[in-house]
């Protein structure tokens, strides 16, 4: 057998809400961005690996971070008060740019945040959707795409292409937006929620860059499903409680994040090129980090005694996964180089 996966927990003196790998340009160690809070303050920390005990740099935030994403050059964090903070991934806190919360932007938590080339999309619980882009002179401009006036709230957002993005939220399932068609919702999916629950909440959406017509969605009650724009009426269940036998349930609680996992080889390579879903990694409130695949038993990577609030797969080194644990620690999982492929 190949190397077994190794997992290491690093206790930190604050609570970690979100964690992401930062693109490391140099060979000198690897870097993490973590949105943390303690009793008195919320901050964005730059943490070094393998020993993340003391932050290399920090940026204070006005309230707890609700979303954190990084593009190759920029790190962006949105907060529970509704502000957006952009800073270069070199973590030069002096050149950070903020879009303050308020009537002109968001009021309340902004959980949907994603980078699509030059533009950032933000979707908040207040029902507003913005596209934020550079104004050319070092400032940023937030353009309002939609104001739901609180009639619906968004919890997740993801770009599919430079003109299309998907959002999801409380009870409203998933929407597909097309900027070329007047910034409008062009498709809508109710989602799949089992156990007699009429609706559930979407927490996370991921879209694979090579298959831009498919979103994978994670939400309440252990639900994970894929939605293919070509077959809009039939979302494909990947996991969920009380679904009719078509998918196994990997957990029963909230699925906080989902990401396509490039590292795990699909067990059937030929069919994966056509109709099958690619493997998806998820983390949950009941402490599960697992890989789910269509028509396969879920592969559990971690079963922690506390919630896993966030995780990220290193884009440069996809065998490595970092996760934020509820009990004030981060965990780094290194998967054996060939463990998955040999199975």
């Amino acid at each position: 057998m190949a190397d077994s996966p190794s997992f290491r927990r690093h206790p930190l003196p604050f609570s970690i809400d979100l964690v992401r790998w930062l693109p490391s340009s140099t060979s000198s160690g690897r870097l993490l961005a973590a949105a943390v809070h303690d009793l008195s303050s919320s901050q964005l920390h730059l943490l070094p690996l393998p020993d993340p005990a003391s932050p290399l740099a920090s940026l204070p935030l006005p309230s707890r971070a609700t979303a954190l994403r990084c593009s190759p050059s920029v790190l962006a964090a949105a907060t529970s008060s509704g502000s957006l903070h952009l800073l270069p991934s070199s973590f030069d806190a002096g050149s950070a740019i903020s879009v303050p919360s308020g009537a002109g932007f968001h009021v309340g938590p902004v959980r949907g945040l994603d980078c699509g080339g030059e533009e950032w999309v933000t979707a908040g619980e207040d029902g507003r959707v913005h596209v934020v882009s550079g104004g050319g002179d070092g400032r940023v401009v937030a353009k309002r795409v939609w104001d739901g006036k609180g009639m619906s709230g968004y919890e997740a957002a993801r770009w599919a292409s430079s003109a299309e993005f998907a959002t999801g939220g409380a009870g409203c399932g998933v929407q597909w937006w097309d900027r070329r068609k007047g910034d409008a919702v062009v498709a809508q999916c109710k989602g799949i929620w089992g156990r007699g629950i009429a609706t559930g909440m979407v927490h996370s959406i991921d879209i694979h860059p090579s298959r831009k017509h498919i979103c994978v969605v994670g939400g309440s009650s252990g639900t994970i499903f894929a939605w293919d724009l070509r077959w809009q009426q039939q979302p494909i269940p990947l996991s969920g409680v009380g679904l009719d036998g078509t998918a196994q349930s990997v957990c029963e609680s909230e699925v906080w994040e989902v990401l396509f996992d490039n590292y795990t080889q699909s067990s059937d390579i030929i069919s994966s090129a056509s109709t099958r879903m690619l493997p998806v990694m998820m983390c949950s409130e009941d402490g599960i980090l697992a890989i789910v695949e269509q028509d396969e038993r879920p592969l559990e990577l971690l079963a922690e005694p506390c919630a896993i609030n966030s995780f990220d797969i290193d884009p440069q080194n996809p065998s490595d996964v970092v996760c934020a644990l509820e009990w004030e620690s981060i965990g780094v999982l290194t998967r054996g180089r060939d463990a998955m492929a040999e199975e």
């Binding site: 207040d126 029902g127 739901g148 609180g150 409380a170 009870g171 609680s253 009990w327």
Partner: protein, 730 residues
């Protein structure tokens, strides 16, 4: 709480003290920045979760700022005040910093939960087998030992520091992670209460323990550790060590508490080992080496020796007794040897002889060599009563040692040990509470009761003066309260509360209901706990509270979502009424786009939407009508009319929408060559129209903007439709 009266000076709030002359009750003044301009009309104070106090400051509502548009001033504000940061915790918890303590708290949850579930499983099997002898019971202490080891590991791992690259030959004491009293106390309890295998070699365990934690015994009085570390500092500047009295003092001190490796290492510093002196000091060197050999072969009654420790390991008692007699014989023989006369160095002769006397168990020398009573106690156990088994006479011995070397610096460890040796679990528990805090007490109770029936009864007996609670439950509740008071640790409190049969569940419900509901993710975390502990009504209540919060703050969709999750028909109906009023104001098609998200939320499962069901049908009707008017296809028109009839038949359609609905359809009714409605349908609509016009006369009628002209045009359209329909029908 009673609303208090604010003081006049700029709006500061001064607490009222009942006894102003009493020194202990001097009010603690805390300024609050509430930002509300004076005069403040009313102040409300209430407890939030943990140490948070919520203070609401309100101004007198005045009629002129009723509109709220022009006035910049805040009418009132709620501020949260965090009281008592950092106080109230035990002394030892300060030694461990707060984040580190939280790490210990988190880490002990799985171990505690596992032990509780094993306990319940055993109780279950015991009940099943009708209280017959349960074989598993014998293994209980092993479960507790596993638990104790897990927790002990959390408290610190002495070997976690990497070994130095170059070992310093002149280092007397190894560099280790700084020991904590918490870990020391935990190990003491484990040694004496849990590990049954250890009882035959308890004295040796105590020696090991002292080797790790001697530095913690006292801050003011001296210890062996102190002596050695002072000598270590001095060592760098010493040319001839054997001329320094501290060298010999250090040696006898280390030997008296059984640190054989330290003694042998230090003996090798002796000047006679130096190559240039070998020739002159041959006999002297021989004596030093002989003592070193005797020290390193001292028999020890223990299963194994860790690497680096010296001595001759004896696994059984007869072996040990035999080896001990033999070794003592060798010590005595050396003591009487003729070579001492040939040893020219006076200090070496005296120092080495002193070491031999300690090994022979000479009370006077042993007493002189040690500093703290516990060290004296240990050397008694090692050299004077080497065959002691278990607790036999230990308490008496401890009393004697305390008399000889009284200590005035009670740091908890010695108090704890006195309690243990006097076999008094109450004292042990009290020391834990006083010195080591609620975490320690809660987790240590499991050790106390592991194999001690008296402690078991003492901890678990229901006490009427505690409202039927046991001491165990009381301490767990106290610890749970400590956890609840911190926003990062409240989530682990339920594990402890749920193990409290008497009051735990009630407090758990209160804890969950008190959690903030502003953030959806936090609400979901709270709901997950409700799911785990099967508290469905609590979770319904939380959803309703969250629903109202979001609704009030304009996040209507989220509000409706939570009400739906809570199956709260009553509030959904209420909300429906409020929403309908808005629709009545704006029915233009463009505005309707705003409602799309909410309608999607309501979903196809109309049953769960309560009164909001109407919205869905209304949207369908509007959409269809638009298509019918644009496309003018017969199919679309027919569809629209069907929606209209459904709406008019449905009892949940509010009356005030009847006329607007009919009026919207007039165009459709008029433009068709053939009637869209049959006689029965037309009659239904006419009846509804009649009802509306009758209602107009009632005093509680709420007027629409539609005029009597609209009424007439609807009536005319329906009448002409009826006429056509009658003609059409066979």
């Amino acid at each position: 709480m009673m609303p208090g009266m604010p003081a006049a000076n700029g709006g500061a709030i001064v607490p009222f003290s009942g006894e102003p002359h009493h020194a202990a009750s001097v009010p603690h003044v805390r300024p609050i920045r509430h930002g509300v301009a004076p005069p403040i009309f009313r102040v409300y104070v209430s407890w939030s979760s943990g140490n948070l106090l919520q203070v609401a400051c309100l101004r007198q509502p005045s009629p002129e700022d009723g509109g709220g548009s022009g006035s910049e001033e805040v009418a009132g504000r709620v501020v949260e005040v965090n009281l008592g940061v950092g106080n109230g915790s035990a002394e030892v918890e300060k030694e461990v910093d707060e984040a580190e303590m939280r790490r210990i708290e988190y880490g002990s949850v799985p171990a505690f939960a596992l032990l509780q579930s094993r306990k319940n499983a055993l109780a279950g099997t015991a009940a099943m087998s009708h209280m017959q002898a349960v074989p598993e019971h014998a293994e209980w202490w092993q479960y507790v030992l596993e638990y104790s080891k897990t927790i002990g590991y959390l408290l610190g791992n002495p070997d976690s520091l990497p070994a130095p690259m170059i070992e310093d030959a002149r280092a007397i004491l190894k560099v280790k992670e700084k020991p904590t009293s918490l870990k020391a106390a935990w190990e003491l309890l484990e040694i004496f209460y849990v590990d049954k295998q250890l009882h035959s070699w308890l004295p040796e365990r105590l020696v090991d323990w002292l080797a790790d934690y001697d530095s913690l015994l006292t801050k003011t009085d001296g210890t062996v550790y102190c002596k050695l570390s002072n000598f270590q500092k001095k060592l760098i500047n010493l040319q001839i060590v054997e001329n320094d009295p501290d060298y010999w003092n250090g040696l006898s001190a280390a030997l008296s508490v059984g640190w054989l490796d330290v003694v042998v290492n230090m003996l090798r510093f002796h000047g006679s080992y130096q190559l240039d002196q070998m020739d002159n000091r041959e006999t002297e060197n021989g004596l030093v080496e002989a003592v070193a050999v005797l020290v390193s072969t001292m028999p020890r009654m223990r299963p194994d020796l860790p690497t680096g420790k010296l001595g001759q390991c004896c696994k059984t008692r007869p072996d040990f007794i035999k080896a001990w007699e033999k070794w003592r014989g060798q010590v005595s023989k050396l003591e009487c040897s003729a070579f001492w006369i040939q040893c020219g160095h006076q200090k070496t002769r005296d120092g080495l002889k002193n070491l031999l006397h300690i090994m022979m168990g000479n009370i006077k020398d042993v007493t002189a060599a040690t500093s703290h009573w516990l060290e004296l106690f240990t050397s008694h156990v090692l050299y004077i009563r080497p065959f002691t088994v278990g607790f036999e006479g230990m308490h008496h011995l401890a009393q004697k040692c305390i008399q000889l070397k009284p200590s005035f610096d009670n740091n908890g460890l010695t108090g704890l040990l006195t309690g243990i040796l006097s076999e008094n679990p109450e004292v042990v528990l009290a020391e834990c509470t006083k010195k080591f805090g609620p975490w320690m007490v809660t987790h240590a109770m499991e050790l106390l009761a592991a194999d001690n029936d008296y402690a078991d009864i003492m901890l678990h007996e229901e006490r009427p003066n505690f409202g039927g609670m046991s001491i165990e439950e009381l301490h767990r509740l106290v610890y749970a309260q400590v956890l609840c008071s911190h926003s990062l640790t409240w989530q682990i409190a339920p594990t402890y509360l749920s193990s409290c049969l008497n009051q735990g569940l009630g407090l758990l419900e209160i804890l969950l209901l008190k959690q903030p509901i502003q953030d959806n993710r936090l609400v979901l975390k709270t709901l997950e706990l409700c799911r785990l502990y099967e508290l469905e009504n609590v979770s319904t209540n939380i959803m309703k509270i969250a629903g109202i919060f979001h609704w009030k703050h304009g996040r209507k969709g989220t509000g409706v979502y939570w009400f739906q999750q809570a199956h709260d028909k009553v509030r959904l109906d209420r909300i429906a009424q409020q929403l309908f009023e808005r629709i009545g104001e704006s029915v233009a098609a463009d505005n309707f786009k705003q409602w799309e998200g909410l309608l999607e939320l309501l979903g196809s499962d109309i049953g769960s939407a309560g009164g909001l069901e109407f919205l869905h049908r209304y949207r369908d009707f509007k959409r269809s009508l638009q298509q019918a008017l644009e496309g003018r296809t017969a199919e679309a028109a027919r569809q629209t009319v069907e929606f209209l009839i459904q709406l008019m038949r449905n009892p949940s359609t509010p009356q005030r929408f009847w006329l607007p609905l009919l009026h919207d359809s007039v165009m459709l009714l008029n433009c068709k060559p053939r009637p869209l409605l049959n006689v029965a349908e037309t009659t239904l609509l006419l009846n509804k129209l009649q009802e509306v016009s009758m209602a107009k006369l009632r005093p509680d009628y709420c007027s629409n903007q539609l005029t009597s002209h609209a009424l007439n045009s609807v009536r005319l359209a329906l009448a002409s439709n009826l006429a056509c329909a009658i003609l059409e029908e066979p």
